[in-house]
């Protein structure tokens, strides 16, 4: 389903994913539009995480996972023969359900991606600037600027999550995937992250998985509803929540199950 007039960032066609013998995704096709927030909702185990992890080939590291179908990023097949997963992940960043900073300092957490991608070899002077910018973009700079060298674990969970976002932003990906980024957070931290998501979409394309319909309604422009590995419905968020076309979507968004 493409919505005309919008630039397509990622195009997913006939995606099937298997874990060993069990099929986790069945024939999913979906277009992710540039500079929009796309939400993926659905009951637990429906394949939301599986889906977004195919977008940056994070499923590669799961033994036994097998991906069929075609996914293009800016027209290029990310599972193509001469494309490396490493490169894909550099362009498509990811933030996880539980904040997972490295056991390093705040500074080194953000610097990590820059270092391993060799982005700071030439002018090392710019390193600090880039880190400041990333932290500022993640709305964390003011809270941590005086203690960049303390351990990331000394931050609150909400701050840790924003640190993870800053870390993802630092390498300037084109797309950022969020897998239930707020499920471990309290309401206030959640609100901060949601604000941030709205800010980020001017620069990045965003895909977010959430188990909270309310959150999807609050932050996303488009929503896809998944059920038992299938994508049941995909469309503008406002329409999905007010005029769902599919009975199952309606049952779900009105709370009849889940």
């Amino acid at each position: 389903m493409s919505y005309t007039g919008e630039r397509l960032k990622i195009v997913v066609r006939n995606l099937n994913v298997y874990y060993g013998k069990t099929q986790a995704l069945k024939d999913v096709s979906l277009d992710v539009q540039a500079n929009k927030v796309t939400a993926v909702i659905g009951p637990s185990g429906c394949g939301k995480s599986t889906f977004i992890r195919t977008l940056n080939r994070m499923n590669d590291i799961i033994p036994g996972a097998r991906v069929e179908g075609k996914i293009t990023l800016e027209g290029q097949d990310i599972y193509g023969n001469n494309v490396s997963a490493v490169e894909v992940r550099r362009r498509v960043g990811m933030v996880f359900q539980k904040s997972n900073p490295f056991p390093k300092s705040i500074f080194e957490n953000v610097a990590y991606g820059l270092r391993i991608n060799g982005l700071i070899t030439r002018e090392s002077g710019s390193l600090r600037e880039r880190i400041e910018k990333a932290l500022a973009d993640a709305a964390l700079w003011d809270e941590v600027k005086d203690r960049l060298n303390t351990s990331a674990f000394e931050l609150s969970i909400g701050q840790q999550q924003r640190l993870c976002i800053a870390r993802a932003l630092a390498i300037e990906p084109e797309v950022i995937l969020f897998d239930e980024p707020c499920s471990a957070l309290d309401p206030i931290a959640t609100a901060k992250i949601e604000d941030l998501l709205r800010d980020l979409k001017s620069k990045y394309t965003i895909v977010i998985v959430t188990h909270s319909m309310q959150q999807a309604a609050r932050v996303s422009d488009l929503t896809g509803f998944f059920l038992l590995g299938e994508m049941v419905e995909y469309g503008l968020t406002s329409e999905i929540f007010s005029r769902p076309k599919d009975k199952r979507t309606e049952d779900y968004v009105t709370g009849r199950f889940g």
Partner: protein
């Protein structure tokens, strides 16, 4: 529809780019490729060592078994290397007896202690006992043997009659040495039983002991058995302590107070005196028997431990 095998370790290595003209390297992946090969090489070292052990020992020992005959070697009642008579049956029996007897002592004690540690002990005791058991495992076997010689052997000689160096002394010493293994592996197995079983049982109004007896121990059974098997492996394989307290007579004992000789002791006792010829070969052949026995135990315990990972 495009098919890509994603990461399966034995699928096509992802560092290769299969172009139309066959394989070519990607520059940054070349390093990854080399590193993986190096790691594989390191990982193969243990397998290589095993292979070397097998080759070395079998090469020296097998000709003798062939010459004496497997049956005569295994079931011969007499060991007289000076006369080139090589029968290890008494030693096999000795090893078997000392292992069984030591297990008889250590298994009940070990499993109960493991259950105690995992389920009953208050934190204070647990925090003392765990390191103690680790220490017990780390104490060199010569120290056990030494204490056996200084304390246990005279004790048995005085109260049960000479010579003191005996199957009984050996079994006690080996039992103590096997305890830490049995306890730690059993405790691991017990702790690995999903907490949900315990909760379910409690929620049905079971007492703690009922839960342990009916749910936890049965669920941990194969892990505990693996511990017992490994413990007997230690008893079979133990050398120094065995030599020190067992008396080393290659004969089938009439009572627990008689001395015996184990297979390991046979090798260690006479190796120095058998620098060549059939005697040395016979000791290597003893080593083969020991090796095969231990290997069987390793396989069994391996299977058992797999068994618990449902």
């Amino acid at each position: 529809m495009i098919w890509r095998a994603v990461w399966t370790s034995h699928g096509p290595p992802s560092y290769f780019i299969k172009g139309p003209k066959g394989m070519k390297f990607m520059p940054c992946s070349y390093r990854e490729w080399v590193i993986e090969r190096l790691l594989i090489a390191a990982a193969m070292v243990s397998v290589v060592i095993i292979a070397f052990i097998i080759i070395t020992i079998f090469r020296t020992g097998l000709p003798l078994i062939a010459e004496v005959g497997l049956f005569d070697f295994l079931f011969g009642m007499h060991w007289r290397p000076g006369h080139e008579i090589f029968g290890i049956f008494p030693m096999m029996i000795g090893t078997l007896l000392v292992t069984l007897l030591s297990m008889l002592i250590s298994v009940p004690l070990g499993v109960l202690a493991a259950t105690f540690l995992a389920e009953v002990a208050p934190d204070v005791i647990r925090n003392i006992l765990r390191p103690v058991i680790e220490l017990l495992a780390g104490i060199p076997s010569v120290v056990y043997g030494f204490v056996g010689v200084i304390v246990l052997v005279p004790f048995i000689r005085t109260y049960f009659g000479p010579p003191g160096f005996s199957l009984l002394a050996g079994s006690i010493v080996l039992a103590i040495m096997a305890l830490p293994i049995i306890i730690t592996i059993s405790e691991d197995a017990i702790c690995a039983v999903p907490k949900s079983y315990k909760e379910a049982s409690f929620a049905l109004g079971a007492t703690h002991w009922q839960t342990i007896k009916n749910v936890i121990l049965p669920a941990a059974r194969s892990g505990i058995l693996a511990g017992v098997v490994l413990g007997s492996g230690r008893a079979i394989g133990e050398t120094m302590a065995a030599i020190m307290v067992l008396g080393n007579i290659p004969a089938i004992p009439d009572s627990v107070l008689d001395p015996i000789r184990t297979l390991t002791a046979n090798v260690a006792l006479e190796m120095a005196y058998a620098p060549h010829g059939p005697h040395r070969q016979a000791l290597f052949a003893t080593g083969i028997v020991l090796f095969v026995a231990i290997s069987i135990l390793v396989v069994i315990s391996n299977r058992l431990r797999r068994g618990q990972q449902l």
